[in-house]
Amino acid sequence: MSDTVRAIGFAPGTAAVWAALLFGLACIAAYVKAYRLQTAGAPGEDYLAAAGFARRLYAAYAVAILLASGLLLLLLLTHDFRLSYVASYSERNLPFYYLFSTFWAGQEGSFMLWLFFGALIGFFVWRTAKEQEPPVMIVYLASFLGIVAILCKQPPFRFLEKVPFDGQGLNPLLQDPWMVIHPPVMFAGFASLSVPFAFAIAALWAKRWDGWVVRAMPWALFTFLTLGTAILMGGYWAYKTLGWGGYWAWDPVENTSLVPWLATVALVHGMFLQKAREKHRKINVILAILAFCCILYGTFLTRSGVLADFSVHSFIDLGITGWLVGIIVFFLFGGLGLLAWRWKEIPVAPEIDPTTGKEKEEPFLSRSVLFILSVTLICASAAVILLGTSAPILTRITGKPSQVATEFYNLTHAPVAILIGLLIALVPFLSWRGEAGRDVVRKAFTAFVVGILGAGVAFAAGVRGVKDLLFIGFAVMGCAANVESVVLFVRRKAIASVGGYLAHVGVAIMLVGILISGAYERKAQVTLYRGAPTQVGRNTMTFTKTVFVTEDGSVKKREELDPTRLADRRAKQAMEVEVVSPRGKVWKAYPKLYQNERTQQLMANPDVRSTALMDLYLSPQAYDPGQPVRVEGTRFPLKSGEEKTVSGVGFKLLGIGMDRSQLNASPPRVTLNAKVVVTPPGGKPAEQTAKMVMTMKGADDSETSALDTPIPGTPGMFRIVRAGGSDAVEIEVLGMNPAGDVKPATSESLSVDITTKPLISLVWGGFYVMMAGGLVALLRRGRDAHAASIA
């Protein structure tokens, strides 16, 4: 097979990717023409015809992307191992849902998924862009064409030279139900970030300083929801199944999705500010550009191989680093350059005080100031995280690449979180126009008292330190203040307006959960011996037995597993730990510790008992099956016809025979018979047959068990430990020198990390409330945008 044929691989797939690139470029050209007609004069028939043509080209682009995605999926589902991608990430024996998710298990496929959502979202973008359609669609489409070009260079349809019978399979760490849902939501969020970016650039281009915010706001909220949900899902996945011990590890891959999300949160606030005040226009353009570039930069960090030595899950270099850098530079400098070009033209709209004729100062205690502070605070947080994550690159310039410890993030974020709590607590009491200090104090009094009470309760429950109490106090006050507002709006039947307040309630709840579950967790490392109750904290824990947990969640003994069921075949070994609480409640935990048969990797999944107040988290670390008292022997190789004296015993190998009569048994077995002449010290030579049984467990997995053969006239034994070809064996002599080689017995034990995480439920609960608030806001702003008519 020639190199070219291999590089093209599955031709219809690669052709679809190239077609997408061509249709994309053609669509941009068509929209440029439509834009010219639109700006030339009153948009008439000509404009409508040109826009209609451009839309048809967009549809062609989207169909090409959908076709390429569909083909890749089809090839994965039909096990076409000619494809490097299929052979690298899937295998025959995967359940359907994991097979489906191998689509995004590799780099090329996840780029494809990104484009897939981009293509779908585009249909809604041109409909909601309305009068801004041509410039928005040009930028929107351009934002994806770089990735399309990467896939043209590295199509996922490449062939291998030889076709393997089976694939490498999906990385066992990724074989989890979350793998099916988490990446698609994440990439939907990534793709949606192109929309605010497209609106912002189009606004600079078409000089539409305020109109873009109205149209783009629902999209920024959409990104807020999808990306936020994806990030939390990832955290929950890490917490529940990966056994990292927490939901957040400040890993580069996590950080690079958090930073764009934070930028989006800042953007949403900036947009509210601009919409209310018709000022502060530059901030939002900058934020939209930065949020989008952060996604690209994150992609570069995690996919170019620069972090390969620093992250648990960053990718290897695919040879696309240069391309990614080029794309980032293009959009970052292109966007900021256009902003600089227009800078002077963007109206600042100062409010003139009619009495003095001077520019009116906005009162300090106003919502405007609070919003500006919140935007800067969120940006500061994002910048600090970006700084930490980029450490390996920044330090590479001056010397050896280094990374920062996770304390860096925790230390820098404590003050951020405290200030955010304070801002959230104040915002319901301030109006855009400003308040007198006395009024704010009067209105905020109830919430303030609740905050003090909250800090008091926390102190009584064991929270110490001024910083922590301040943190809790502000967060509780923020929660109370915003709940007050939500109640007020619901009473006035203005549910559509509660979005922001509800989201802030959620943030305040999350803040409390994050602090308490993180700073006040208790961790213990214990070794549980089987059958021996051990006191751990206030609970009594007993490791009772090893069991198997099937993929559909039932607990079985090894002999109860049904080999005809896929869920049973994929059962994982688990340890049953009986946890008895001080009140006598019994919980059976099943932390899993098993070896992946394909990769021989040892995998661990924790088990968690969640209650409203506290999670009890059992993360298995090591399992020791224990050893009976055993005499360690001396090993030596012996060839056919060779004679050796070991530990005073003479051995001569006469020959080796194989008994294959049980090859068709289940499981298949082969017995090796070694005829050996054994001469004990001072005794007569005697012919013995030593047996070793090899049991086949899988395609290339077998288990051997040797039978001990007595050495006549002595307490010793010998056995075959390994076959060395057709005419040699390795023999172990046991018990001939019992003084020095006895190994003591060890009992069966399980080492487990036990962590209690107080109030972690607030992290999840607060998140739901925050997302509910975001959804309410999305509906409201979507309706506003739909109703708005903009010149």
Binding site: Y89, Q168, A380, V404
Partner: protein, 131 residues
């Protein structure tokens, strides 16, 4: 209004200063074994596991092993008091974060890199693909 911008700028600046100062403090530089032996601060070293040097003491939960620098062939003894990481013996390379003390490098954290991560590359090596 200008006041708010100034305040915002001050907040941003404050955090950047805080970030940068924490940044240099919490930095754990990658160093060679020779540098690690003389350095007093927390550093990270990377190397391959020298075969046959792994010893795990269950009582004290201490893992002893030796790392070899693949280039210079330098060695450094490492101790790690915690549960032995999964797949420790299969690691292609091990990153140890900690500091050097009299008896050897005391690791606070180990990052174990397993071959499975390079799965895609391996298939291409085995079945051939150089486009």
């Amino acid at each position: 209004m200008k006041k708010a911008y100034w305040l915002g700028a001050a907040v941003l600046l404050g955090f950047l200063v805080l970030g940068l100062s924490t940044f240099t403090k919490s930095m754990t530089p990658y160093v060679t074994f020779a540098e690690a032996k003389t350095s007093k601060r927390t550093v990270q070293v990377m190397g391959a596991l020298e075969k046959g040097t792994t010893r795990y003491d269950i009582e004290t939960k201490t893992l002893h092993f030796t790392l070899v620098d693949p280039q210079t062939k330098d060695v450094i003894p490492v101790t790690y008091t915690d549960v032995k990481p999964a797949n420790f013996e299969d690691a292609v390379s091990i990153v140890a974060i900690g500091r050097y003390q009299a008896e050897g490098f005391r690791a606070e954290k180990l990052l174990v890199k397993c071959p499975s991560k390079y799965q895609g590359e391996e298939v291409e090596k085995q079945y051939g693909n150089k486009a």
